[in-house]
Every structure is written in C-alpha cells, then in structure tokens.
C-alpha cells in the first residue's frame, strides 16, 4: 500500500521538517515565557516574510507527511484499500493543507 513514490514523499517531507520542528520547539519555549497573547504572537509574525516561508513550508510538508502516515494506519488498522484509501489520503492532504495555509495567512499577512 506504500510504493517507492509514497515512501520517498514520506521520508523527504520528514527530512524537511526535522530542522523546522527544532525551530518550532525553540520558538514555543521562548514565546511561552510570561504567558501567551494574540498581540505578542502577531507582533512577531505579521508582515514577516521569513516566518511566512518557515511556516508555509512546514504546513506543506506536514500535510504530505500526515496524509501518508494516516493512510498507513487506515490500511493496517481499518483495512481500507484501493480507491477509498487513495481518496482518503488526498482528502486528508487537502484538508490539512487548506486549514494550515489559512492559519499561516492569518498570522503573517494581514
């Protein structure tokens, strides 16, 4: 149910995310000092091309990675296969990508 192509997508998206995850955890530890507020987060991210690229890439990679990961679980634990499995994979991918893109847009652009 995973062929070479899906396997490569899964591993490449993982490699892309490894440094991003470290950056994300570092920002979390830094930002959580003294409590979280919308103003503080937006002050850091709004209008910043750097953060938009960082989190844009993160969202794209995690959408691929999450969709393929859930595909494996759907097949091995729920027994989904064929068109249903492919359709579900695409649906999860597009769902994560659109929600994630909207979130990145919300905190970086306006």
């Amino acid at each position: 149910m995973l062929d070479l192509r899906l396997y490569l997508l899964q591993r490449i998206s993982a490699l892309v995310m490894a440094p991003l995850v470290l950056g994300h955890i570092a920002v979390m530890i830094y930002a959580a000092q003294g409590g979280l507020s919308a103003a503080e987060i937006l002050g850091r991210t709004q209008g910043s091309l750097g953060w938009a690229l960082f989190y844009g890439l993160f969202v794209a990679a995690v959408s691929v990675h999450g969709a393929i990961g859930l595909r494996v679980i759907a097949h091995e634990t729920l027994g989904w296969r064929g068109r249903v499995l492919s359709g579900a994979t695409w649906l999860v991918f597009l769902f994560l990508l659109s929600l994630g893109a909207r979130a990145v847009w919300a905190v970086t652009v306006p």
Partner: protein, 234 residues
C-alpha cells in the same frame, strides 16, 4: 505437564493433553508424543528434526518458534504449554498451515535465480571477502521456516505485503554477482506490497531461529531502490 493444542482449521479450539515431562524434550517431541500415544488424528508437519528443513514452525506460548530445536524448558510457562499453528497463514488442519501464500511471495519478490551466463561462459569467480558477497552471506542461511513471516505485524495487517523472508531473499540476490536480475528485483520490491511497507519493528530479527536480520536486509532494499530511483532520474 498441561499441553493445549489447537484442533481444527480457522475455526476450532484448544484441546488439553497430559504429557509426561522428560529431562531432554523438544516441543516437537511433545507434539509427536501426543500423536503417537493419545490421538493419532493430530496433524502437524516436520521432516529433518535438526533445524535444517524449516518444516516444523509453530506458535508456542504466543511466540513463533522452530519446534524441533525449542527445548520445552525454554518455552514452559507455569508448567503449561500452548501450541498453535503459525499466524498469518491459512490453517489446513490442527498445527499444519498452508505455506503457498508464503512461497508465492518469494516468487513475487523475484526471489528466484536470474541466470546471467550460458553454459559456454566461464564460471564466475566469487571472492568471499568483497563487501557485496559478505552482505549476501549475511542473509543466505534462511531455512524458509516462516517464523519471521508469522512474527511480522505488517504481514498480519497487510495481506499484500511480501514479508521479511521473501524480501531477505531478494536482498541476497541483489548482492549476488552471479544473479542478473538486479533491476527486475528492485522493481518487484518497489511495488505496493513491497519493502517500503516495513516499519522496522524488528519482530523478524527477534525471532529468526538462525539469527538472521531480515529487517537489515529490507533496509538495504529501501536504500538500493532509493538510489536507483535518483540515478534513473539523473
């Protein structure tokens, strides 16, 4: 001691027998004793009795084992033994499973020899110390017992998956200078049920009675397929 043995096919139940304990006794001895002394209709499979033929694998107290080389003392829990057929293979009767799906997958993984020379060519000289030969040697002691196949949770969850034994065989051929099927094998193991479904949980290496590591072989296949993918693109 109490020995409960699976009776039936996919449907069935465990039947308990009282078997005298001996000092030196394998699980296969126990099964044979029941068949010879208590119930001649008990079905099971064995041949060599010395760990070479790979016929007698069964599930003993929940673990897949070669029964002719498994001492009762090693498997005994609370003076009890439960013996069942191998997991993930159709049960023919009692302890004998149908090995066809297992061997069909060897063929599907191109785990067959691909001749590269004619009878008029010279015989290929094999240097035992080359890296490729040593990699192949690490996997060739497989006796086709299907213990790894029964131990693997991916096989259990995904019936298309080729499984550790077939993929291990494919990896030894990829590293065999005499074999001419390199590209064909890599293509076969890159398909939907291929090596990329392995999660490296290592049940195969944990239970292989010959202490091989199919998991390592499968990692080798993943590496080789990735390499050939980028080479073809370039």
């Amino acid at each position: 001691m109490d020995v409960s043995v699976w009776r039936g096919t996919a449907e069935g139940a465990f039947q308990t027998f009282q078997v005298p304990a001996r000092d030196s006794q394998t699980i296969l001895d126990v099964v044979a004793w029941i068949q010879q002394n208590l119930d001649p209709t008990l079905s099971y499979r064995f041949a060599c009795r010395v760990g070479m033929c790979g016929s007698c694998a069964m599930t003993v107290n929940g673990q897949p084992r070669w029964t002719c080389r498994t001492h009762v003392k090693k498997a005994l829990k609370n003076n009890k033994i439960q013996i069942a057929p191998l997991r993930s293979l159709p049960v023919i009767k009692d302890l004998a499973v149908d090995m066809d799906p297992f061997f069909d997958k060897w063929v599907r993984a191109e785990g067959v020899f691909h001749p590269s020379k004619t009878r008029r060519d010279k015989v290929e000289a094999l240097a035992p110390q080359t890296a490729a030969r040593q990699t192949a040697d690490a996997g060739i002691e497989c006796i086709n017992c299907a213990v790894c196949y029964a131990a693997c949770d991916v096989v259990a969850a995904n019936p298309d998956y080729l499984g550790p034994a077939a993929l291990n065989r494919a990896w030894t051929l990829v590293n065999d200078a005499k074999d001419g099927g390199y590209d064909k094998i890599l293509e076969a193991v890159s398909d939907h049920g291929g090596c990329h479904n392995c999660h490296s949980m290592g049940n195969c290496a944990r239970f292989c009675p010959n202490e091989l590591s199919p998991m390592t072989s499968i990692a080798g296949l993943k590496r080789a397929t990735v390499k050939s993918f980028f080479k073809r693109k370039a």
